[in-house]
């Protein structure tokens, strides 16, 4: 291995999650999206000065899939969680449901269980959203 390569990596770690944790997150995201027809996406990183605004901007960046999308944005550094629902997703997931999931997630986060909180929160949201309706929108 090149010595410099290892030094570069020590500055900013490659990713916040281990391969096992990544597999859990991937499974939770994929299964909940496939079961419900709502596209769940997960952002883990800095949410700057106005977290809600930034999370909504990220949601808007999803483009054509944004109305059917739910963005779960977690900022572990600022201890801040934002759940943003799109137009169609909000019909399936009212704010009260999102607040309940957010409460469950923050409870896990405060105990240091980042991945467990995210996975359980996604499961709660997916359970509440239910199956996609057969009638076309």
């Amino acid at each position: 291995m090149v010595p410099g390569e290892d030094e570069d990596r020590s500055g900013v770690p490659a990713g916040p999650f281990s391969p096992k944790q990544l597999a859990r997150l991937d499974e939770a995201l994929t299964l909940s999206s496939r079961e419900t027809g709502v596209q769940f996406s997960l952002y883990v990183g800095v949410l700057e000065a106005s977290p809600r605004r930034m999370a909504e901007d990220l949601h808007a960046a999803l483009g054509a899939t944004a109305p059917d999308s739910v963005l779960v944005a977690v900022s572990p550094g600022e201890r801040r969680l934002e759940i943003v629902t799109g137009q169609n997703a909000a019909k399936r997931l009212p704010d009260r449901t999102c607040a309940l999931a957010a409460l469950s997630m923050t409870a896990s986060f405060s105990g240091g269980d980042l991945v467990g909180g995210i996975v359980n929160g996604l499961r709660m949201l997916a359970d509440q959203a239910g199956k996609p309706s057969l009638t076309p929108r």
Partner: protein, 87 residues
């Protein structure tokens, strides 16, 4: 029993067992990064999307996301609801 044998049995074996346990405990946790509330988060920002359903061809329906920072203050708001939380 000679002095060397006594030392090996009563000092060497416990020391070896202790070292083995220490390696198992410390070696396992060092690889998994652990989040501790209140500590700074020194990782890059990541954004995960669900895997698209199995595709046969090279193209699938989901459009590629464009990179870069989102345009702040854009008129197009897609958010309709949601929730916030702190811990």
């Amino acid at each position: 029993m000679t002095v060397v044998e006594t030392l090996l049995i009563y000092v060497g074996i416990p020391a070896l067992a202790f070292a083995l346990l220490a390696v198992l405990v410390l070696g396992g946790s060092a690889r998994t990064p652990r989040y501790r509330p209140g500590r700074a988060w020194a990782h890059e920002d990541v954004w995960y999307l669900p895997r698209p359903p199995a595709v046969s061809g090279p193209s699938h329906a989901a459009p590629a996301l464009t990179g870069g920072a989102p345009t702040v203050g854009s008129d197009r708001r897609t958010a309709r609801g949601g929730a916030s939380g702190t811990w």
